[in-house]
């Protein structure tokens, strides 16, 4: 399989008062064609920033890439020209944002917003673009798409707006869809509709997708592979089933145990002590060591390398082989 996307040693941060604060502290991962990768993590772990870095949109949030490479079909995206970037965005890679209310321009009709994207990348007449846009709306399950073309975003419900975002994203048949918390702002019953729609659209056409979320349940049900991030670092990366069956990293283990014990209705919920670090907080050694019940001396002194296990999983922990020896660490 060919690598569609490769991220090498990416570091991202912001500069304030001449001081650079890294928020993503060096991450590596890759994505194959047709693959469905989930990135999970809690607030401030840098998962959204990773997606913005791929899209080259960091500068609009006041962030910069300080190191590393982002390779798209072998081409490094960091130093591409503005023109190259423009022809790639929305065309080869498209993004779906968390809050469809604010991600759509309130002043323009739904139709205008889809048509302008089609016409930015395809040499078609306005009529043809409109016909295509209607088709897209139909594809994402919007009833009476013709009349919806002239509607403004505020006149639609949250679920419908997210469908419009998806229609827009797939209108130029991108190879990769990045969905950043696409259902966090939606209700549970609507969330199910949207996630089903997204995964159907992706599998139908052999597209790739990166699904960014804080919800382990979503990842478990919709992704083939999962990458867990914490404080700007990759903790673990595994195929989904294996990750949930036997998490390697103490952080993943803690997260899964706490969600499972909530689901299984146990008296005492397994919990990770301490609190989520602020983005940009400097932590010596392993970023998780302060909250880790398995931590040993080396953890607070040296940063663990990311290791690839025999069965192709990746984990960044000094002690991952010995985790099973400590029982009930999170109770």
């Amino acid at each position: 399989m060919s690598k569609l996307l490769e991220i090498c040693d990416l570091k991202v941060g912001f500069t304030k008062n001449d001081e650079f604060t890294p928020v993503i502290k060096g991450i590596n991962f890759s994505l194959n064609k047709g693959e469905n990768l989930g990135i999970v993590g809690e607030s401030g772990c840098g998962k959204s920033m990773t997606s913005l870095a791929i899209m080259g949109l960091l500068k609009h949030k006041g962030l910069t890439v300080s190191e590393g490479q982002i390779k798209w079909n072998g081409r490094n995206l960091i130093d591409q020209s503005e023109k190259e970037q423009k022809s790639m965005l929305g065309n080869e890679v498209a993004m779906i944002f968390q809050e469809p209310m604010t991600a759509l321009n309130p002043m323009l009709t739904v139709g205008t917003q889809i048509v302008e994207q089609i016409r930015a990348h395809r040499k078609v007449s306005k009529k043809e673009a409109e016909a295509h846009a209607i088709q897209m709306l139909k594809k994402v399950g919007i009833p009476s798409p013709e009349s919806r073309m002239n509607v403004y975003p505020h006149e639609m419900s949250g679920g419908m707006r997210q469908r419009v975002m998806i229609a827009m994203a797939i209108s130029c048949e991108p190879e990769l869809l990045i969905a950043d918390e696409p259902t966090t702002a939606l209700d549970v019953t609507i969330q199910a509709q949207i996630l089903d729609l997204l995964s159907n659209l992706v599998s139908e056409t052999n597209r790739s997708m990166i699904l960014i979320t804080h919800d382990l349940g979503v990842v478990a049900n919709y992704c083939q592979r999962v990458m867990v991030m914490y404080s700007g670092k990759v903790m673990e990366e595994s195929p989904t089933n294996e990750l949930f069956d036997k998490p390697l990293h103490p952080y993943t283990k803690g997260l899964i145990e706490s969600v499972k014990s909530i689901e299984e209705n146990s008296e005492r919920i397994a919990s990770i002590p301490g609190m989520v670090p602020l983005p940009g907080e400097v932590i010596a050694g392993c970023v998780f060591c302060e909250r880790c019940p398995y931590a040993t001396d080396i953890c607070s002194q040296q940063e663990p390398p990311i290791e690839t296990t025999d069965d192709g999983r990746r984990v960044s922990c000094w002690n991952y082989k010995n985790l099973s020896e400590v029982v009930g660490a999170y109770e």
């Binding site: 008062n17 001081e19 928020v23 607030s43 920033m49 913005l52 006041g62 604010t102 602020l278």
Partner: protein, 293 residues
Amino acid sequence: MVKLETSSGNLEVQSTQPLQKVKARRKFKISLSNVLIGLTMVIFATVLCAPLITSYNPNENDLTSVLQAPSAAHLMGTDHLGRDIFTRVLFGGQKSLLIALLVQGIAVSVGALLGLIAGYIGGRTDKFIMALTNIIFSFPGILFAIAIMAALGTSVFNLILALSLVSWPEMCRLVRSQTMALKEREFVEGGYALGASVYRILFKYILPNCYGNIVVIATLGMAGTMLAEASLSFLGLGVQPPDASWGSMVNTGKDYLYQAPWYVFSPGIVMFITILGINLMGDKLRDYFDPKM
């Protein structure tokens, strides 16, 4: 006041704000605006200590030295009646400054109180108070002040009255809109849930959270008041001769623009720097209290 942003991208950057703010406070750069603010402070100090600094009498004519150019004896020259312009600028500034302070004091107390009441009670009370501010806002610029001065006659008391009347509505609207937003906030609701009295809610929960904006608007309002006072005095509707005032000095000076340009420019430039300094200060305060603007 960190707001929970809906988009996670924003949240990640925003939650670091408290840390950043502490750092920003420590650094002090020498920039044009800081120099101007410093200069304004110096002007304030000089103006308030005017009698200690100058030995001339601001209102004493000296027809032997009329329209003299700036010199060591007369830092800013003399006017058409031979009075020391520097001295008159100082005494004029004193008057201007005290009037502006008093006017903003009145505007803050009246405006904030009415704003709190309107925003909190709502309904008819709110409609009535807002109608009052609307009517005052319907007179463009200083026209209302001009009309009042024309009707009541020129005196310092009337000047303060007129300027206060046009200044309070802005404060009132600001406090009202903040009150309306704040009373929906969960921590205020928490106050209700505890059974806190209306008085406590207004003055302990809502008002302290308006202070930042009140200070900003009052500072910018002070610059506006000084400007309006100067304009009225220029038109002959403010401070009356022989008392000095920046506006009236420029007004009499304009007839000597050819022979004695310093007559106009001395009070004009001091006035400009002062108002600019206050405005810059207001801007700084706004950046401090509300980093998003």
